[in-house]
Assembly symmetry: C2
Homo-oligomer: 506 residues x 2
C-alpha cells in the first residue's frame, strides 16, 4: 500500500504536505522518507462535524452490525501484511516479534468487543409496572445504555497498534456506538495511516457512514487543543506522560460541558518481596524482575519501577543476582530520541542524589538506546526526594531497603496511585501478605500475587486503571471488555411503548 | 430530643454557638430560636481525618453488617417521631404530608441498599487460570469493587430528608463502604441535626467506628471549600443550583488528585405534546401538567418547565385549560426567602422579554410565597434569549408554540441536558413519537411516555442524572440502587490466594 501522508477526514484523504513532518527511524535515528500533513483547523472541524452526523445512524445500528464492523477492521489489519510490521518496527524501534504479537492483541481486542456485542451483554434492568401498588402505581421503568457521542482518542507512543489507531480505546468506543476522532501519535504516523486505511476499507465493506472514523495527523498542540475543546466531542481517551496528560486535563476543565477524560498517565508498579520469599527464591525472583523490567526497554505502563523489601542477610543474594542480571542486559533502542533523552536525564538525576546507590548498569550503546540501571535507597531518602517517587519511563528500577514492617506500611501509605503492584511471598509470609494486600489494594487497579506486573490479560475480569496518576478516572479500565462502559451512559425509559424501546429492552 | 446546635465530629458534639446562625421559619419568614455553630477549620480537619481512619475498618465490614447499619439508621429516624416532621416543616415550609412521605422514602432508600448488600449484588467477574494456554499461560484474574474512601455530601434544600443527612447520597456511600462527611444545608440545620443524632445512635448500636459519619454545620463557603479540597476526600455529592455547582466544580478542578464530582445542577424537563394527543386530550393534559408543575411550588428537580407543541386549532383548548388551572392555584411558601426572591426575579425577567406572552398567573400571597406563572413564546424568541433556556426554580412554565415538526426537531437539538423529558402522544402520533424519542434520548437521563416527570421511582432500573447541566457526570444516577456504583471502583486481583480475596471472589 502507498502512504499518502494525508489525514483521513470522514472517508476523504486530505492535507497539505508542503508544511509536513516526518517520523524518525528509531534505530537509525534519522528522519524517515514519508512526509505527513498536519491537519488544518478546517479539516479537524469537518471531521468532528461529520462524526457527529454519523453518530445518528451509527448509534442506531444493531449490535451485531457493529460487531461485524469490528471484525472486518481486524481482517483488514491482517490483510496489510508485512508492510505494517516493517513500518511499525521502523517508526518505534520495537522488534518484529513484539509488533507481530501486538498486532495479534489488537485484532483480539476487536474480537473481544465483537463477541460482547453478539452476546448482548449489557441488557439493562427491567422493573415492570404495578398499577395496584399503594399509595401510587409503580410505572414501568427500563434501564438501558446509550453511547456518549463523538470520542477523541490520542494514540500511545508505546503501543503503535494495541493502543493507537485501532487500539483498545478506538475498539471500545466503536463497540459502544461512538464515532472516533483519532489523533495519531506523531512518532508513528505511517503505522497510523496504514491502520486507518484498513478501517476505511472496513467502513466501505460494511456500508457504514464514513464520518464514523477520522485520522488526524500532526505535531503541534493546537491540533490537540482544538479537538478536546470542540463541544461535539463527548469523551477523550489518552495514554501518555503525566505532564502532557495534566495539560489536556486542565484544558478540558475549561469546557462549558464537562466530559469524561480517560487519561492513563504513569505508574511505578511497586513490587513487595516478603521475607520468606526473599530467603527462598531471592536469586530467581531477581532475575524475573529484571526480565520484566527490561521488556521493551521498560517502556511498558506496567514496568516494575520500585522493589521493596525488609533488609536482612538473605537480601544480598537477591541484590547480587539482580545486579548481575542488569549488567548482562544489552541496550535497546527507545521509542523516540526525546524519550531516550528524558530517560538519560532521569537516571542522571537519581545518580546525583545523596543516599541513592547505583548498584548496576546494563551495557551501553548509542545515545538513543536505553542502558538499564538499578539503584537502591532507604525510606528516608525516598521520602525526601520527589524525583524518586515518580515513574522513570525506561528500564530503571529503585530497590527500597526497608528497616521493618512498619516502614513497609509507611511506604504503602506514601505511594500515589498505580496501575498494578505485586506481592511476592510464600505461605510463611501470610500474616504480612494479608496486612500488605489490604493496604495496597487501595493504591492500585490490579493487585498481583507472585507474578510479574508486565503482561496485561485482555479479558472480562481485567482492570487496567487505578488511582491517580495511574489514571485520571479510577472508576474505569482501558483494557478488557469493561472498557466499553467508558463510552456509554445509562438512560431510563419510563412507560415507553414496545416499539419505541431499544431491542434489548423490549 | 434536644437540639444542641453543634457539629457531630466523629461521635462528639462540638462547636462554638456564640458566632452561630439560625434557620428561617419558612412560613413565618422569621429566624427560628435554635442557634447552630459554624464548624471550625480544626473540627472539619478532625472529622475528615477520623473518617479516613474509620475507612480501614468500615470498608472491611461484611456487606451484611453494612446492611444492618443502614436499617438501624432507618429505624432510628422513625424513632424520632413527630419532632422530625415538625422541625422539617418549620425549616422548609413543606407540608407535613409531604415530609412524612419523604421520611418514608428516606427509610425505603436505606432499605433498598440494605437489600442490595444482603443479596450480594455486585459479585464481580472471575476468569480462572489456564496454565496450558499457548503461547502464554492465562493467569487467574478476578474483578471486584472497592469503596473510594471518604465521601463529602452536600444536602439539598428541596429534600430535607431524602437528599440530605441520611438521604440518597449518604445511603449509597455508606452502602458502598465509604465514610461520609455531611455538610448540612443551612436552610434546615435542625432537621439535619435530628437525623445526625439518629445516625449517631445507629453507629453506637451497631458498634461501628464513630469516624464513619460527621455532620458539619455552617453558612460560609470556606467550610465547603475546605471539605472539597482536603486530599483525604475521594468523592463529592452535591444537589443544588448550577451557579453554586460550577463554583464547586471549578475548585475541585484545582485539586492535585482528580476526584468524582456528582453534581445535580438544573433541568427544564421539557414536555412534548404531539398533535393527536393534543386534539384528543388537550384539556385534561393541561390540568395534569399544571398539577405536576405546582407540586411543592415547582421546587422539584423534575418539574416540567417547558411544554412544546406544534400550533394548530386544537391547541386553544389546551392553552385555555392550562391558564385556568394556573389561575386557580393558591400561592405556597417557598423553601427559603432567597429562593422566593430568585423566582420572582426570573418571572419578572421573562415578563419583560419581547415575544414572550404571559398567559396566566396563580393567586398571589406574601412576598416569600410562590405565585405560579405560565408563559408562551415561539422558537425564534426562545433561541434569542438565554434566560428562557435555563431552569426557573419554582412553579413557572414556558409553552413553546412551534410551527412544524422541523421546529420541534430544532428545539430538541438546542436543548441542553435534562434529568427527564416526556412525550405525550397517541398511537396515531407514532411516526413523530419515534423521531422525537430517538433525538430526545440523547438529551435526557430518563425518557417518559404519557406520564408526568415528577415522581421518581426508587428502584434498580431508575436513572436520575443526565447530560450537563442536569448532572456533572452523566454516567451515573443519584436515585436507585445503581447509585452505589458512584462510590466504588473496580480492582482486579491476579493469582491471589483464596484467603487474600474478598469473600465474594473466593
Amino acid at each position: 500500500m502507498t502512504i499518502s501522508g494525508k489525514n483521513l477526514i470522514a472517508g476523504e484523504w486530505s492535507g497539505d504536505l508542503t508544511a509536513g513532518f516526518s517520523a524518525t527511524d528509531a534505530i537509525r535515528n534519522q528522519a524517515m522518507k514519508e512526509v505527513f500533513a498536519q491537519a488544518s483547523k478546517i479539516e479537524i472541524s469537518h471531521a468532528i462535524e461529520r462524526a457527529d452526523q454519523a453518530f445518528v445512524s451509527y448509534s442506531q445500528l444493531p449490535a451485531t452490525a457493529r460487531a461485524s464492523f469490528l471484525r472486518t477492521i481486524g481482517e483488514q489489519i491482517i490483510a496489510i501484511g508485512d508492510e505494517l510490521i516493517d513500518m511499525a518496527c521502523a517508526e518505534t524501534g520495537l522488534p518484529a516479534l513484539r509488533i507481530q504479537s501486538e498486532r495479534g492483541r489488537t485484532v483480539a481486542q476487536l474480537g473481544l468487543f465483537a463477541n460482547l456485542l453478539e452476546q448482548g451483554e449489557y441488557q439493562g434492568v427491567i422493573d415492570v409496572a404495578d398499577m395496584n401498588r399503594q399509595p401510587v402505581a409503580k410505572p414501568d421503568t427500563r434501564l438501558g445504555y446509550l453511547p456518549l457521542g463523538v470520542v477523541a482518542v490520542f494514540g500511545a507512543s508505546n503501543f503503535p497498534l494495541a493502543f493507537s489507531t485501532a487500539g483498545g480505546d478506538t475498539a471500545s468506543a466503536l463497540a459502544a456506538g461512538c464515532p472516533v476522532i483519532m489523533k495519531a501519535h506523531d512518532a508513528h504516523p505511517g503505522t497510523s495511516e496504514l491502520v486507518a486505511q484498513a478501517i476505511s476499507r472496513a467502513i466501505t465493506l460494511c456500508g457504514i457512514d464514513a464520518g464514523v472514523f477520522s485520522l488526524i495527523q500532526g505535531k503541534n498542540y493546537q491540533i490537540t487543543s482544538q479537538i478536546i475543546m470542540d463541544p461535539l466531542v463527548k469523551a477523550v481517551g489518552f495514554t501518555g506522560s503525566q505532564r502532557v496528560g495534566m495539560i489536556l486535563q486542565q484544558q478540558i476543565h475549561q469546557r462549558e460541558e464537562p466530559i469524561p477524560f480517560y487519561g492513563e498517565l504513569g505508574s511505578v508498579n511497586p513490587q513487595f518481596i516478603l521475607q520468606d520469599k526473599m530467603a527462598n527464591d531471592g536469586r530467581i525472583l531477581a532475575q524475573e524482575l529484571v526480565a520484566s523490567l527490561i521488556m521493551g526497554q521498560g517502556q511498558f505502563c506496567t514496568s516494575p519501577g520500585i522493589w521493596a523489601y525488609i533488609t536482612h542477610e538473605s537480601c544480598s543474594t537477591f541484590e547480587l543476582s539482580a545486579s548481575e542480571a542488569i549488567q548482562a542486559t544489552t541496550a535497546g533502542v527507545m521509542l523516540t530520541p526525546e524519550i531516550a533523552n528524558s530517560y538519560k536525564q532521569a537516571v542522571a538525576t537519581w545518580q546525583n542524589i545523596d543516599g541513592v546507590e547505583l548498584l548496576a548498569k546494563g551495557q551501553a550503546d548509542k545515545t538513543h538506546f536505553c542502558q538499564a540501571a538499578l539503584f537502591a535507597t532507604d525510606l528516608a531518602t525516598f521520602k525526601a526526594n520527589k524525583s524518586l517517587q515518580i515513574e522513570v519511563f525506561g528500564a530503571c528500577a529503585l530497590m527500597l531497603r526497608l528497616k521493618d514492617q512498619q516502614e513497609m506500611m509507611e511506604l504503602i501509605s506514601l505511594l500515589k496511585g498505580n496501575l498494578t503492584a505485586s506481592i511476592h511471598a510464600t505461605d510463611n509470609d501470610s500474616e504480612q501478605s494479608h496486612a500488605i494486600s489490604m493496604a495496597l489494594a487501595h493504591k492500585v487497579g490490579r493487585l498481583i500475587y507472585n507474578q510479574m506486573p508486565t503482561g496485561v490479560e485482555v479479558c472480562a475480569s481485567m482492570n487496567h486503571g487505578g488511582p491517580f496518576p495511574a489514571s485520571t478516572d479510577l472508576r474505569t479500565t482501558s483494557v478488557g471488555s469493561e472498557a466499553i462502559k467508558r463510552f456509554q451512559r445509562p438512560i431510563c425509559y419510563q412507560n415507553m411503548p414496545k416499539e419505541l424501546l431499544p431491542a434489548q429492552l423490549q
